[in-house]
Point group: C2
């Protein structure tokens, strides 16, 4: 396989949840290219399954899309070293109020590999215990429960597009419901 | 639903395939927050299905992950107005050499909604006609064909993590193979 060589990685901007770098790369034919690199600490997400087999979803405003989205509960790691299972359990509790001692890793995704290192570990949680939301100061989240079939239809109709949510629902269906 | 208000959107850095903005947001409780926004033109991807039912995958170096990845063929739109079907057909031809007149929209994803507007429309292509790769100057891509079952195992083992590829394989399996 040909070799790519990174000649430099320069921090251009330090953001709230990401850092933006400009990389200088020598590609295999010897050309020099400038590539974007967005550094992200990583995140965790969870597919909460209630006792009726419905999945607990959160609706929230997404500034990047200028609209509300329906997603599985998720959030960034508090540090790159935080175990994703800990983060998944925390986000489940914060965003939905439910807690669970039964978290199983479903799959890991890289959201957008062309320019970003963000990794999301996605867990399945069942045996949910009800409680109350305790959101961060800037979080405003509504909770809904849907069947997997309803959610699958929302994926194909375009109502659900968030990549971690699409991957999580389809993987849960593939692995647990066939 | 509570109201979020964007007070400003300031361009911080103009990148190769993205632009980095800092947004100032008034959240519903009146607090002011600084949020990252990465603007992306959008992309198209394609699940190429050969006459044996195998999917054509591309292996390429991903600087953001410092490693090679196995993905479905994909690429950015040449302009925000380019039809994604056109882009999907072009990337299929450029990266794999195959062409197809049979492209059907499978689903659309938003890669990472917390900070980026990137949308990827994912098509299924069959009746593939062989040809030769014609890559961009900085592209170096190898081609492989795998069964859907092999690819599903690679998702759960972590060998395939790219979100568009995970979503595409699982959606193709859910929609076409059950």
């Amino acid at each position: 396989m040909e070799e790519f060589q990174r000649l430099s990685r320069d921090l251009i901007a330090h953001g709230a949840i990401i850092d933006y770098y400009q990389d200088t790369i020598m590609v295999p034919n010897g050309n020099i290219a400038k590539w974007d690199f967005i550094k992200h600490n990583g995140a965790a997400a969870v597919v909460p399954v209630d006792d009726e087999g419905r999945l607990i979803m959160v609706k929230q405003f997404r500034n990047a899309l200028d609209r509300y989205t329906l997603e599985i509960p998720a959030g960034g790691l508090q540090s790159p070293e935080e175990p994703t299972r800990t983060a998944a359990a925390r986000e489940l509790s914060e965003e939905t109020g439910y807690t669970s001692d039964h978290l199983e890793l479903l799959l890991s995704i890289r959201t957008t590999v062309a320019f970003c290192n963000e990794k999301i570990d996605i867990y399945v949680a069942d045996h949910l215990v009800p409680g109350s939301q305790h959101l961060d100061e800037d979080e405003f989240v509504q909770i809904f429960a849907y069947s997997v079939e309803e959610l699958t239809e929302m994926i194909y109709s375009g109502q659900i597009q968030d990549s971690k949510t699409v991957a999580a629902i389809l993987a849960y269906k593939d692995k647990y419901l066939k």
